[in-house]
């Protein structure tokens, strides 16, 4: 029961007004938080990383099936012995995924987390989401 009560503040809240707070008053507090400079900084930082990163990995990924299908003779080029470009390209997808994940995790831990913490401190000062 203890755990459930602690959860009330976050998930129980949207379905019913908490205490005397009306839905409109509640929404305007969140809107103020959403338009705060602290939150805008976080969103801009994340957007500037995540959107290009997502486009990059989608292009890189789909280049493989498109290449295999549309340029089979190029992809069948032998690079080392009987190891061809198609296999090496497929292996490079793994390396690409690992590197991009590592770069994102590093960036998120060092840059996004402190920015998010600033928003949480602001929320606490405003008494939102407690």
């Amino acid at each position: 029961m203890e755990t459930r009560n602690r959860g009330q503040g976050s998930l129980g809240a949207p379905n019913a007004p908490v205490g005397t707070e009306t839905t409109t008053a509640r929404a305007s507090k969140w809107e103020a938080l959403a338009s705060s400079p602290e939150f805008r900084r976080l969103i801009t930082a994340k957007r500037n990383f995540i959107i290009p990163a997502t486009i990059f990995f989608l292009v890189y990924y789909f280049a493989l099936p498109l290449g295999n299908g549309l340029a089979p003779s190029l992809m069948n080029t032998k690079i080392i012995g009987n190891i061809n470009l198609a296999y090496l390209f497929a292996l490079s997808e793994f390396v690409m995924a690992w590197i991009l994940a590592a770069v994102y995790i590093r960036r998120a831990n060092r840059v996004f987390d402190p920015l998010a913490a600033a928003v949480r401190r602001l929320a606490a000062r405003m008494g939102v989401g407690a």
């Binding site: 959403a34 549309l70 012995g81 009987n82 061809n84």
Partner: protein, 541 residues
């Protein structure tokens, strides 16, 4: 076969022992569904890997490569790159806004009743496809281990074990079963890969020389070349547009794989077991390391089976890895052969049991938490009732999966799993993304997206050539993988539904709640805490 049986029995006894131990610690809902949100990042990473690498990964991909060469490896590539979608777009917002299930996130903005009902339907559909595939795979493996058991009996035995896992233990037991299984699976794959390479003097060039000598009779291509599984040929696509069919099938498969993972309810659920978004992120990192390493090794397993054993000596494509193990151990009826076959078959068996447990948990919580408590009971929660309903639902879901699976003795497990990914990417992903990132999105849009995307993908799979439910020379839908059609349609249903919703008078709450979900999902303000407040956050990978 006595050795084989003993090894299997020991591994099953260990996993059940862990379940019984964990069962004593499961009392509250948060423990049953989310392991008290106390699972550490690396532990969750192992568990994600355990949840994810199913019969399709171990038995299916090895078999596809053994029978079709390079094209089978495309499944491995897609299933790893998929985690970038999860990591960059989904994992942290899900942890920050949800509680137990995918529908928790959606019902933040949308009307709880319709959205939870629709999400319960799509969750049951995805988990059902996935689970039936595992049951079929388990039936084949157990039938190989003990030829005396018929396929049908084997499926029933797996079903009983699986129901036991979930009903007794909930999420803590499932998590630990997955950690044990992931470790076993990695060990098995490393062992087989080293043994395969030793046959070629640890020289990749000699290995590839042997692979290039394996030639597909129909296409004339050798096994290092793409185009065997999905042959090249003209395909009329969308009226006047004519494209290469191999390309469309591979792109379509890739779309389902890389967008489907982020819509799999049993994988999304795993992010509620960790204390913070940072731990959720770390767990994806760990999972990507393990899953990627395993998928690279599928080339040794698959090509190893193709070169050393040969397609002619493998009775069923799902048995390529076990048959390879038998060969590497010393061949049929040798002690070493039986020992290695026993170990690998048992690993496969444990793999399937763990995945089925995770799936059953997702399906039963969709029913108990989303449908029973929040729709039927109007959100009035009772701890003990909810856990009881989830356990009854777990039994019900398990029984239905067993009943369907025993009627599909020849169905291909990999095709069923790919179908589950197509349903998840078409039904769930568009709605999750729009809920998090599109201000105008509303309840009608969410319901249309969930139901429409799920229905259209299932329909295209049934009328297409993939499952061969009705073998036809000219199937009504030409592609085995419907993703390239069903995923865009899933997004379109959600968008059109949103505009219909606006025309019907709008959805004030969905609009008003957008700033709140935007802030919460990106910052973790007011996120569900772990049941022990002072939990040390594991360092990132």
């Amino acid at each position: 076969m006595t050795t084989t049986l003993w090894i299997t029995a020991v591994i099953v006894a260990i996993t059940l022992g862990i379940t019984i131990w964990a069962a004593r610690q499961t009392r509250t809902t948060v423990q049953f569904y989310a392991a008290g949100r106390k699972i550490k990042g690396w532990q969750n990473g192992l568990a994600i890997a355990g949840d994810y690498m199913s019969a399709a990964s171990f038995l299916g991909i090895a078999g596809l490569i053994a029978f079709n060469g390079y094209d089978g490896f495309m499944y491995s590539v897609g299933w790893l790159v998929a985690y970038l979608t999860v990591l960059l777009l989904i994992a942290e917002p899900i942890r920050n806004t949800g509680k137990y299930t995918m529908a928790d996130v959606l019902s933040y903005r949308m009307s709880a009743g319709p959205v939870r009902s629709a999400a319960a339907i799509s969750t049951l559909a995805v988990s059902g496809f996935y689970m039936i595939a595992q049951m079929v795979g388990a039936g084949v493996v157990l039938h190989l281990l003990v030829p005396g058991f018929s396929f049908q009996l084997a499926v029933v035995i797996v079903g009983i074990l699986m129901i036991g896992y979930v009903v007794l233990g909930g999420m803590i037991a499932t998590t630990w079963v997955q950690i044990v299984k992931a470790t076993l699976l990695m060990a098995g794959a490393v062992l087989l890969s080293i043994m395969v390479l030793s046959h070629f003097g640890f020289n990749p060039l000699r290995f590839f020389d042997a692979i290039a000598k394996v030639v597909d009779k129909k296409s004339g291509l050798n096994f290092t070349q793409p185009g065997i599984l999905y042959p090249h040929g003209k395909h009329v696509f969308l009226g006047p547009l004519t494209l290469d069919k191999s390309t469309i099938e591979n792109v379509s498969l890739g779309m389902a794989l890389i967008f489907g993972t982020a819509g799999l309810p049993h994988i999304l659920m795993r992010f509620y077991t960790v204390p913070t978004a940072r731990a959720a992120r770390a767990s994806v990192g760990w999972a990507m390391g393990l899953i990627g390493a395993f998928y690279v090794m599928t080339t040794f397993l698959g090509f190893g089976a193709a070169t050393l054993v040969g397609k002619a000596k493998i009775p069923n494509s799902n048995l390529a890895a076990p048959k390879l193990a038998e060969f590497l151990g010393g061949g049929p009826n040798s002690f070493g052969g039986e020992l290695l076959l026993g170990f690998i078959s048992a690993v496969a068996f444990a793999t399937i049991l763990a995945v089925v447990a995770g799936l059953t948990l997702a399906a039963s919580s969709a029913f108990a938490h989303d449908f029973w408590m929040n729709v039927i009971r109007g959100g009035k929660e009772s701890e003990s009732e909810q856990v009881t309903v989830a356990r009854i639902a777990a039994v019900g879901v398990g029984v239905i999966a067993v009943l369907v699976a025993i009627n599909l003795p020849t169905a291909n497990a990999a095709q069923l799993v790919a179908a589950a990914f197509a349903v998840a990417s078409s039904g769930n992903l568009p709605v999750i993304l729009f809920t998090l990132f599109w201000k105008r999105f509303n309840t009608v849009g969410a319901v249309c997206g969930l139901i429409g995307g799920t229905a259209v993908s299932i329909l295209l799979i049934i009328i297409g050539p993939g499952l061969n439910t009705v073998p036809a020379a000219h199937p009504a839908f030409a592609l085995a993988n419907p993703g390239i059609v069903s995923i865009p349609l899933g997004f379109i249903f959600a968008i059109v539904g949103t505009y219909i919703g606006e025309a019907l008078g709008g959805d004030q709450r969905a609009m008003a709640m957008y700033p709140e979900i935007a802030v919460r999902s990106q910052t973790g303000v007011g996120a569900e805490p772990s049941s022990v407040v002072e939990e040390r956050i594991p360092a990132a990978v």
